[in-house]
């Protein structure tokens, strides 16, 4: 148990440091897409929700899972789409819109 916690902690700590460095490099120009993008990434909570919705546990668990999948997939699908919509708008002089 303690060992399992420690390994998770290692990963959490490393990812936290990494996040700090990666995020600080995002220029203010892209801060709104950044917010939307991290939202999309947060959609990964799908992997937890899917198990709840697809497992054979209890009715309650399935219903909770159902709602959770709806919520998480709004973020996952919608998040990437809207971030892309935003990023598509950023263009250099003379560049044509795609």
């Amino acid at each position: 148990m303690a060992n399992e916690l420690l390994l998770a902690l290692y990963i959490f700590v490393l990812a936290g440091f990494l996040g700090h460095h990666v995020i600080s490099k995002v220029p203010p120009l892209l801060h709104t897409p950044l917010m939307a993008g991290t939202n999309a990434i947060a959609g990964i909570s799908l992997v937890g929700s899917l198990v709840a919705a697809g497992g054979d546990f209890s009715h309650a668990s399935t219903i909770l899972g159902f709602i959770a999948v709806v919520c998480a997939s709004i973020n996952a699908v919608g998040g990437f789409l809207i971030t892309d919509r935003m990023l598509r708008m950023f263009r250099k002089k003379g560049e044509r819109r795609s």
């Binding site: 959490f12 897409p33 991290t38 999309a40 990434i41 959609g43 789409l81 950023f90 250099k92």
Partner: protein, 463 residues
């Protein structure tokens, strides 16, 4: 099988890191997004092969519903509504995390769970619900469903403190006695309550800071889920999210020259403009030059270099397209047109950048404060489009001012300043702005979009 699934999670983690790395330049940001979407797809598909999943009966419809809503929302939401959209997403994320937490709790034998799992479940549910209601409140305030003004009443502080202490006590008891269902639901309830009571006393205009902070709570909830179900990609995505939210909210408070504590507990901001407070003992209303469309256009016509300073008012009146058209018209007449973007102009980090990008302004014409502030002195005309606090010279000169020390644009050094606003009301901070009363400032009252469109028509008639 199992190790294949876990490998796919490692792949997804790397993809997400790359997504954020690619966001360091607008040129490659879209590629990064594609990588992230690929990672997400890999992780989701791999998960479907988990032995615990016995049926796709509920998964397929729920996923379809979610995707449909997500697609619709992202296709139709106007860019000016981004803060609302982000708040809403956080609340979905928080809700998903806490529901997964509850479902994990009810389907496991509490005596078979390790302490770590129990604690993680508690955190997950607590932060998930807190993010859920907190983001809902923030959304309501932004949308105007709830008044933007700080809501405070006697006893609110007491409730907040009680809920906070209660949540800690409940969490501790829960870790010791995971079998006590009531305690688990108490943890959930305190999360729901704190989300409401901690957000309502904060002014509507401070919501962006709150939203970013809730972003980091959502990240924590996600990481806690990872701890609870032993899933590293959740831990990593949560940590990335969490740091992102935290860094952005820090950046905003710093750019507003306010402490975190002041934002969260200061009940600052009235949520709307108000008439300027009378300045000390001087009761005469100060004089300002009110200009007509014609005056302003004459000045613009003569300018060799124009710097546009957009602010929250541009978002309110959706003037970004009109601004771009006016800029193009001026450029065609030989003037150089640049845009000065303040880090906290508008109501969200990067707000102005997105709006101007939407209107097809190249990002090479957008300048950060460090890059343009020295150029105002050699500039002919500044066009202030619904900005106020970010051009308030009091931040540089008046040590008594609450925004003293916040970096602001040196617009007053330019030959002429044209200010577009609807009234002489104040901006977000509620402070009067001396700039409007200076001899080289011309105020053109009216909705920004309409005024700018009028500028353009007038300019065309003169050709």
């Amino acid at each position: 099988m199992n190790s294949l699934i876990n490998t796919s999670y490692l792949v997804a983690s790397v993809c997400f890191i790359l997504t954020l790395q690619f966001l360091s330049s607008p040129k490659h940001a879209r590629q990064g997004l594609l990588i992230g979407a690929f990672g997400m797809t890999v992780a989701v598909i791999a998960t479907l092969f988990k032995p615990e999943i016995v049926t796709y009966k509920w998964i397929i419809p729920s996923f379809l519903i979610g995707s449909l809503i997500g697609t619709a929302m992202s296709a139709w939401i106007p860019m000016t509504k981004m803060p609302e959209r982000i708040a809403l997403s956080h609340s979905f994320g928080g809700l998903a995390a806490s529901l997964v937490g509850i479902s994990e709790y009810i389907r496991h034998d509490p005596f078979e769970m390790s302490r770590v799992t129990v604690a993680a479940l508690g955190f997950e549910t607590f932060f998930g619900f807190l993010t859920f209601t907190g983001s809902m409140m923030a959304f309501g305030k932004l949308q105007g469903f709830i008044t933007g003004a700080p809501i405070t009443f006697k006893g609110l502080n007491a409730i907040n403190i009680a809920a906070f202490i209660g949540s800690i006590v409940a969490l501790v008891i829960f870790v010791i006695h995971p079998e006590m269902k009531e305690i688990f639901y108490t943890v959930s309830a305190t999360g729901l309550i704190i989300g409401v009571t901690a957000v309502i006393p904060i002014g509507g205009a401070d919501m962006p800071v709150v939203i970013s902070l809730l972003n980091s709570y959502a990240g924590l909830a996600s990481s806690a889920t990872g701890f609870a179900i032993g899933n590293n990609v959740l831990i990593i995505a949560g940590a990335l999210d969490g740091t992102s939210g935290f860094i952005l909210s820090m950046m905003m408070s710093k750019a507003m020259n306010r402490s975190f504590a002041n934002v969260l507990f200061g009940a600052f901001g009235t949520g709307g403009g108000s008439a300027p407070a009378a300045a000390g003992t001087d009761t005469r209303a100060p004089q300002y030059n009110q200009g007509t469309i014609e005056d302003a256009v004459s000045t613009l016509e003569a300018a060799q270099s124009v710097i546009v300073v957009p602010g929250y008012g541009m978002a309110v009146s959706q003037a970004q397209h009109a601004v771009r058209e006016l800029g193009a018209a001026l450029e065609k007449r030989g003037a150089t047109v640049r845009y000065a973007i303040h880090p906290v102009a508008g109501r969200m980090p990067g707000h102005m950048n997105v709006l101007l990008a939407e209107a097809d302004v190249s990002y090479e014409s957008l300048f950060d404060i460090e890059d343009i502030n020295d150029d105002f002195a050699q500039n002919d005309v500044v066009l202030v489009v619904g900005a106020n606090d970010v051009v308030n010279p009091a931040a540089k000169t008046n040590k008594q001012s609450p925004i003293y020390g916040m970096p602001v644009f040196n617009v007053e050094l330019s030959r002429t300043v044209i200010v577009l606003k609807r009234s002489m009301n104040t901006g977000f901070s509620g402070l009067d702005n001396e700039l409007f009363y200076q001899p080289n400032t011309m105020v053109v009252l009216g909705d920004a979009k309409k005024t700018i469109q009028a500028f353009k028509s007038e300019l065309e008639t003169r050709e």
